[in-house]
Symmetry: C2
Subunit: 185 residues, 2 copies
DNA sequence: TCGCTATTTGAATAGACACTCTAATTTGAA
DNA sequence: TTCAAATTAGAGTGTCTATTCAAATAGCGA
């Protein structure tokens, strides 16, 4: 293959960037830090990426894909599946989860393209939960479903947030118990 | 008074810093931006503060106070009061809320002093909710109270997070409905 | 082996940043 | 009014940042 070395370096950069992001946060994600950890020089970095932002964007895209697997199955999944998918994501890739939350909050980069992307994804996720809950609970009217799905997504994000602050937090347990919550009469 | 002018400038700096924080986020909070908006030069800034971090710390301390008013009343307040205090904070100072969440997540500054402070505050807040809920619900055993107060605080943070992402979100409504939630039988 | 291209290097650039310092100015107390 | 202290201005420092580029090197296909 003609450009095998380049692809390998590309992978090294992405994985090193994820590590740096997890250890030092979005602020600590400098080109120098990425290159040092990947064992390359800045020149190689810019041979493979046009900008640092492109790297961050790639990582966020990966996080989005991990949070919402099988987007094609929209229209057939149940709330339980969506919750389990989120649990799997947060537990298997906690640093990616942290990055997602961080960027969502801090607004990302200069031109806001990351924020745009995350907001769009956020809206799609809301819709997907709404559809699934509607299917699971035909006894509720639309506004009740809307309200509950919003509350559910928000609480899930809150639990993820809490888990980042306090790793002893039983994220999976709390997330699953959410499914059984009912408004008191 | 001998140093009235200095105190006035100090106030100008703090309020301008809060505005900048609201408009440009933690990344956009530069000494230059603060001074430009306050109509002063960097020299005056450093006459009144030792570092930029000191300003950020002051603002975060203010946020913490706003989230948890009357810390002396710990031991007498009810869950409803705590929730209402949080609603008031998030609705009246949304950008301060955002800063609080951002710093909690991203780790804040160089030496992590802000993060330490926020983590400590976070733990105190958990304890306060725990105490209040125990008082409000003597019918529940301790582990159930622990679990519920954790879930409540996490969900509140999640709702605040959600509100930052989507300003149309009915934060207050959802937060109040949390109080009425019960695990299904 | 040769040649071409992909890749890497290492130095250089330009801008932003927090922060410092000295000299000028303002201000309040006497 | 006088004067010393408080305050401010404004230029300057050094460090860090992302990014560029010409030149050196490496490695694949023929």
């Amino acid at each position: 293959m003609r450009n095998r070395a380049g692809l390998e370096t590309r992978d090294k950069i992405l994985s090193s960037a994820k590590t740096v992001l997890a250890e030092r946060g979005l602020d600590g994600l400098t080109v120098k830090a990425i290159c040092d950890r990947a064992g390359i020089r800045a020149g190689s970095f810019y041979n493979l990426f046009d900008s640092k932002e492109q790297v961050t964007l790639t990582i966020v895209r990966e996080a989005i894909t991990a949070i919402d697997p099988d987007p094609d199955r929209t229209g057939t999944d149940h709330v339980r599946d969506l919750v389990e998918a989120y649990i799997t994501f947060v537990e298997s890739q906690p640093e990616l989860a942290k990055v997602y939350l961080t960027i969502a909050l801090s607004g990302g980069l200069t031109d806001g393209s990351l924020t745009q992307r995350i907001l769009r994804h956020h809206q799609e996720r809301l819709d997907r939960f709404f559809d699934a809950l509607r299917r699971d609970r035909p006894d509720l009217d639309e506004s009740a479903v809307r309200e509950r799905s919003e509350a559910l997504v928000a609480a899930l994000n809150g639990y993820a947030f809490h888990e980042v602050l306090d790793p002893k937090f039983d994220f999976a347990g709390h997330a699953r118990r959410l499914l059984a919550m009912e408004p008191a009469p």
